[in-house]
């Protein structure tokens, strides 16, 4: 690829694949079961910091999952409807998120918190899930070159 960008770090690959999308960041854990509408991908958990956001085609960055193990199926439902995140980056391995991403074909990386701290909301992110590379192509305020 000829596109320039800042490589912000290497990550552990749980589910491989290539993806690109705008970063959506939550410092709070996410429960997909009960916390995300399985048909639209809208965050619906009361009081959640990204409540009202839509996950569709975003590179979703959050520390780890929480809540019911049924959350894996919600990711599957989103993927079937084409409204799943383009990729997920977590700080910690979580069996619910990992299971959901595997059955749904959503690239999933685990990156250290200090790398995640360099991603800003709206940044255009490219994930290379073959080697675990995260690249910031452009910040949220600028358009893509």
């Amino acid at each position: 690829m000829m596109l320039s960008g800042i490589v912000i770090g290497r990550a552990k690959v749980v589910v491989g694949g290539l993806a690109e999308g705008k970063a959506l960041i939550s410092s709070q854990p996410i429960t997909f079961f009960g916390g995300v509408d399985p048909r639209t991908g809208e965050v619906i958990e009361d009081g959640h910091e990204i409540r009202g956001e839509r996950l569709s085609r975003k590179v979703l960055v959050f520390p780890h999952g929480k809540g019911s193990t049924v959350g894996s199926y919600v990711l599957y439902s989103l993927a079937k409807r084409g409204v799943a995140p383009a990729a997920i980056i977590n700080a910690r391995f979580d069996a619910i998120i990992a299971s959901g991403c595997i059955i749904s074909g959503i690239p999933l990386l685990i990156a250290p918190g200090r790398s995640l701290g360099r991603i800003r909301k709206g940044d255009r992110i490219r994930i290379d899930g073959r080697v675990g590379r995260i690249v910031v192509l452009g910040s949220g305020s600028r358009t893509r070159p």
């Binding site: 749980v14 399985p38 193990t69 049924v70 199926y73 919600v74 439902s77 069996a95 299971s99 059955i103």
Partner: protein
């Protein structure tokens, strides 16, 4: 949606290969020592109220791939007995519940629809199994000496179709040794208090494995209630109880020498009071969390005699135990007294709430916790005898 995404979505077809990838990811993520051959599986996430349309869709897609389980596989309760539909749940929900059960049947699982998979066929000591349903996990590890972590519905399903699971946690013998020694200083307590004791152990020791001495009772149904409550309160997968559990001789040699913790009657009573709403008259009786065994059905039948209930009574068990109880004449006695025997479903993940019960009495500490915290009811925790007299 661009072309690549459209391709990916249409290519979403879960298969045995998907499930193998899942097991490998869980192995890597858990830091397991490779994989272990699994001999039996029990799957949770069966009620339509629990997994919803998303789960039903996944199970249907997986079944359509033609994948079959490679071992004896049982499943947790659904939201209702779809044949009798005793609480009059809407037709749409019943149809979806049926789709879920059919998918499990298609992949070769036994649709037992019960939370007590140890009733039909007991895994042997040391056998590696992949069970979801926390109360069954702690029972298998503690009472049977079988080896299972607390699986999710989907990880148990993946083990069932691949024959393998990540080798960590409870599968590794060394991890099953007691971490703490607890001396319980009480006499012969009833099952409600045994449940409160379990809840207290689960709350206090989290994922640590206790070696508990001083328990005087020997009835299996009291142990079942104690273990179910412990696994409700926290992630605890195993409790060694002196004189009762499967690996006790082995565990005793590895337990810390001095009892670092003591639990007395006052603390257990305090826990029972926290779980229970004792203030007002119960409006119903709910028994069978976990599902009643045939011994418990017999016990309840014996207590009733010629009596009749003045409030709704629901008794939850498996279809298999229910059938046996019918043959033995227990069901006739219970139904004559006004009780309803409910099969294929569960107090928590069922349509029970549609009946508008507010203050059920139950002998299950686990049920009390969920009735109170997730269903917003005001349950009373008391022993079977007190429940039936309430």
């Amino acid at each position: 949606m661009n072309e690549t995404e459209a391709l990916r979505v249409s290519a979403l077809k879960p298969s045995r290969e998907t499930m193998r990838e899942l097991i490998e990811a869980l192995r890597d993520g858990s830091g397991a020592r490779g994989l272990v051959a699994i001999r039996g599986a029990h799957i949770s996430g069966v009620s339509y109220y629990s997994i919803g349309a998303a789960g039903a869709e996944f199970l249907e897609d997986l079944a359509a791939s033609g994948v079959r389980v490679r071992m004896r596989t049982t499943v947790n309760p659904g939201c209702a007995d779809v044949h009798a539909n005793p609480y009059g749940i809407d037709g749409g929900t019943i149809r979806n519940q049926r789709r879920i059960v059919e998918s499990f049947r298609a992949i070769g699982a036994e649709t037992t629809l019960s939370c007590t998979p140890y009733e039909g066929h007991r895994p042997s000591p040391g056998e590696h199994i992949a069970w979801a349903e926390s109360s069954a996990v702690i029972y298998a590890n503690s009472m049977l000496g079988a080896r299972t972590n607390r699986e999710s519905g989907i990880s148990a399903l993946a083990a069932a179709v691949t024959g393998k699971g990540p080798n960590y946690g409870m599968h590794v013998r060394g991890n099953r040794a007691p971490d703490v020694r607890v001396e319980v200083e009480v006499g012969d307590i009833d099952e409600a208090m045994a449940g409160a004791l379990g809840y207290l152990l689960g709350t206090r020791f989290g994922s640590a494995i206790p070696f508990v001495s001083g328990v005087r009772f020997r009835e299996m149904y009291k142990m079942k209630g104690l273990l179910a409550a412990a696994s409700t309160a926290g992630p605890m997968p195993l409790i060694h109880v002196d004189g009762i559990t499967a690996e006790i001789e082995w565990a005793r040699r590895r337990a810390p020498e001095k009892a670092g913790h003591r639990i007395g009657m006052d603390e257990i009573e305090e826990t029972r009071e926290q779980l229970s709403c004792d203030s007002s008259e119960p409006d119903s009786i709910l028994l069978g969390c976990p599902h009643l065994s045939i011994e418990e059905m017999k016990l309840i039948t014996g207590m009733i005699g010629d009596g009749k209930f003045d409030k709704p009574v629901f008794i939850f068990t498996s279809r298999e135990i229910g059938g046996l109880a019918k043959e033995l004449g227990y069901v006739d006695v219970l139904e004559r007294a006004g009780a309803a025997i409910v099969v294929d479903s569960c107090i928590m993940w069922s349509g029970l709430r549609a009946l508008g019960l507010k203050r059920p009495a139950t002998n299950s500490a686990k049920a009390c916790f969920y009735l109170r915290n997730t269903m917003g009811l005001r349950p009373r925790l008391c022993n079977i005898c007190e429940c039936l007299r309430s």
